[in-house]
């Protein structure tokens, strides 16, 4: 096995890895404390198009996790990073609760479209507005392309179908910034002065967390909590660096073998 650089950063998925809805994974808080005593940076990463960082932080604090807001990186953060780097003025098709993460970004006279899960904006008039901008050359930035998601009363359309529709209408391709895109993982490491080869990702989604991370050059640990189903580890190539029971075990492995 090729020698790897020293581990500098650990990326940790939230829902399904640290907590399942409103319950922490048993032992996760203590495992995080142990991880923090090692000389590694820690970032908490998630795909979301609805929840701003403050909301995510509040939930994690309620569950007794020792986390700072600046350590949270979401697909919304990734989109903001892209918008800032390219000095774009976006039309934001986002839920109201997500707009906080774009405060300070100029949105008048838009020359870009940022699209997340926003049913209130997916009406004919607003989509036409977005369509005309993209047709005239505005970049289309998608928070992620999930097909649908599960609600209490059944399945509901995610942002993916609308992004696909706009791509077809304008004969362009959206830049997708959420997991499992490489952009997401590289952006998450951007302010840590850390190469992908010096980082590891812990998550419960074989394709979006581990597959995506490993494709960008990182190592990945798949945990068998949250949405994990038996055999998921075989669905990606290469397979996860490690598949283990839960986040505390993943931390044990890192402290014993990689630091």
């Amino acid at each position: 096995m090729a020698a790897r650089q020293r581990l500098k950063a650990v990326l940790i998925d939230l829902s399904g890895t640290l907590h399942i809805e409103d319950s922490a994974v048993p032992g996760a808080q203590e495992a995080l404390s142990r991880l923090r005593r090692a000389p590694v940076a820690v970032r908490f990463v998630t795909n979301t198009t609805k929840e701003c960082k403050r909301t995510l932080l509040e939930r994690l604090c309620r569950l007794d996790f020792d986390i700072q807001e600046r350590e949270i990186f979401t697909s919304l953060s990734a989109a903001r990073g892209l918008v800032e780097r390219r000095a774009l003025r976006p039309l934001l098709l986002l839920e109201h609760s997500a707009l906080e993460d774009f405060s300070g970004i100029e949105t008048s006279d838009p020359n870009a479209v940022v699209i997340g899960l926003a049913p209130e904006h997916f009406n004919y008039e607003t989509l036409n507005k977005a369509f005309r901008l993209v047709l005239e050359g505005a970049p289309l930035i998608a928070i992620h392309k999930a097909r649908y998601y599960k609600k209490k009363d059944g399945l509901a359309l995610g942002p993916g179908p609308f992004v696909t529709g706009l791509e077809y209408a304008t004969d362009t391709q959206a830049t997708v910034v959420g997991k499992p895109e490489k952009t997401f993982f590289l952006e998450a490491l951007r302010d840590l002065d850390c190469q992908p080869e010096e980082a590891i990702m812990i998550g419960d989604d074989a394709r979006d967390d581990v597959g995506g991370a490993q494709n960008s050059g990182m190592l990945g640990i798949l945990v068998k909590t949250g949405k994990y189903r038996a055999g998921d580890e075989a669905k990606i190539s290469p397979q996860p660096h490690l598949t283990c029971e839960n986040f505390p075990q993943a931390v044990d492995h890192i402290l014993q073998h990689l630091v």
């Binding site: 997916f122 369509f131 529709g165």
Partner: protein, 283 residues
């Protein structure tokens, strides 16, 4: 050479098929607006020895309502000359024993009056415009994803069309959205489906090589017709944007009458286009 090809086309021509929106008129507030010279051009075609049919992917109204609107704009067209997707879809539903969930414009619903719609086992989407709300789209999605064998019909697959207040998303965009959401492939009824063009040719009793399709949509009008062996003529009115890759355009001077449609013929994608008169030139 485009000139020789065009002369052959004219010589062998027995029928003309006209797209409507973007060729005869632009839609918008009220009835819309007839495109300059189009009313006269249709009259001249009808007075000639060529057969004439109208082929539209219009699904925002029944054929009767649609033809009445064109009458008010000054066109002399009757329902029997018009081919549109909704009646074609009804035929397919009957043949295959299907009951549709409809996501279409309110004004085209009457075309489906005779069709059983309870306990749907397929979804039909048309150019629903403001009916393309998230809620309606979600309902169509839930019907589809709940079927053991999801069947999705799309009345046309256009990307956008032109109205007086700007370009607007067409049914194809929402077809792609539902295809992606459910991982299915839609069946297209209407242009550019070959079955649709063939039904028009059969009605005229002529061969594809004897027919010319005139439209403003490169893919759905001209491309679709040419795939069936018909000739295609692309007009620069309506949704035409002048940025289609693969078209070479050569303007040849003095050969056109500007009162008529100016066009850049796409002859099998090989020859550069030039401007021609439709029908027999006025002397």
């Amino acid at each position: 050479m485009a000139e020789m090809d065009w002369k052959h086309t004219i010589r062998d021509l027995k029928g003309v098929v006209l797209d409507m929106c973007g060729v005869l008129y632009d839609s918008g507030e009220g009835d819309g607006v007839a495109i300059d010279g189009s009313i006269e051009a249709v009259k001249r075609l009808k007075a000639s020895d060529l057969q004439l049919r109208f082929c539209t992917n219009e699904t925002q109204a029944t054929r009767e309502k649609f033809v009445a609107k064109l009458g008010r704009l000054g066109f002399d067209i009757c329902v029997d000359e018009v081919f549109s997707p909704a009646p074609a879809a009804v035929t397919i539903l009957k043949e295959r024993g299907l009951r549709p969930h409809l996501l279409v414009h309110d004004d085209v619903v009457p075309e489906f009056d005779a069709v059983e719609k309870t306990d749907p086992n397929c979804v039909i989407i048309g150019d629903a415009a403001d009916n393309f709300s998230y809620q309606n789209l979600n309902k169509a999605f839930q019907v589809l994803i709940g079927l053991e064998k999801p069947v999705l019909f799309s009345l046309g697959r256009g990307r956008y069309y032109k109205e007086m207040d700007g370009l607007k998303l067409d049914v194809g965009v929402y077809m792609k959205a539902l295809e992606y959401a459910c991982d299915v492939e839609a069946e297209v009824v209407g242009k550019p489906s070959p079955v649709f063009f063939q039904s028009v040719l059969a009605d005229m009793g002529i061969q594809p090589s004897q027919a010319l399709m005139i439209g403003d949509d490169l893919v759905n009008d001209v491309g679709g017709a040419q795939s069936c062996g018909m000739r295609g003529l692309l007009v620069k009115t309506g949704k035409y944007r002048g940025d289609h890759t693969g078209i070479k355009r050569k303007l040849s001077e003095g050969k056109h009458d500007t009162r008529h449609w100016t066009a850049a013929p796409e002859v099998s994608g090989r020859s550069p286009g030039c401007i021609h008169v439709i029908g027999r030139p006025a002397e």
